[in-house]
Amino acid sequence: MDRNHPQHQVLYMRRSLFDQGYIDREQFIQLEELQDDANPNFAEEIVTLFYTDSARLIQNIEQILVNKPIDFARLDDILHQFKGSSSSIGAKKVKEACTQLREYCCAENAEGCMRTLQVVKQEYAVLKRKLETYFQMVRQVG
């Protein structure tokens, strides 16, 4: 594979997203398969929706953890939502971090929640960067 060839670069990046566990291969392929002439950028549109949704959910989680006493029931609801939207694009690492955060939430461990929230934010930031680069490359290749 010629890594300097733009189309090969796209394929290489896509494969590394799967191999490095950032994105669930099956789910992402399913998203891509929903693309058609009327919706040629469907996968990117859904991923963009995921960014908006995630930003809102992360903000909500931060607000909950700042308030005392912490509303763990509400936090659990939000984490459930976050898991749901992560699974719609196959965001594996983000989903795993949310699952961990949910465990601390069920145990009502405030410190554990705050620590794990940082992991969620980090995984989300890394994934967003990678996907933005990926879709930019896809658009360039056409």
């Binding site: 929706l49 949704d53 719609s88």
Partner: protein, 170 residues
Amino acid sequence: MASGEENILSDSCRNYNAEEFPAGLRVLAVDDDPCYLSVLEKMLRDCLYQVTTCDRAKDALSLLEEDKNKFDLVISDLHMPEMDGFQLLEMMELLDIDVPVVIMSVDDQKEVVMKCILKGACEYLAKPLQMETIKFIWRHVFRKKQKCLKESEKSTESVVNGDNSQLKTI
């Protein structure tokens, strides 16, 4: 499709062509996650179903209350704010809205699944749904229509005293 099956569909599914079934199946999709609702909507449309989406169970219930014959199937997320999937099932039962309901969720604990089925869901699916699964959700509609037909045949038999020509018109 056998003519008996066509009668089941054309009697109760007036809004679409029975020969094209399940194309045109009228699905009400409910999910508060805008991301997933968009994916689900696309998948349902790709199956040639007619899709109406709601991001709140209360809105879905209003539509069903308005006219339960407008929809063949409801597919709803379980965890939603204000009114969740369980409560939607409960309200539909109370209001005698007997449209089949498929519940979906990221949660797949056995107790949750059982609770949904006991509440009246005809199926429980783990999110994210596969296209293969969505292609076959029409079977719940078909099964229900067959059940309704059998029930109406039984009640007619008890009224009509063995007159076969009367049964054929149903």
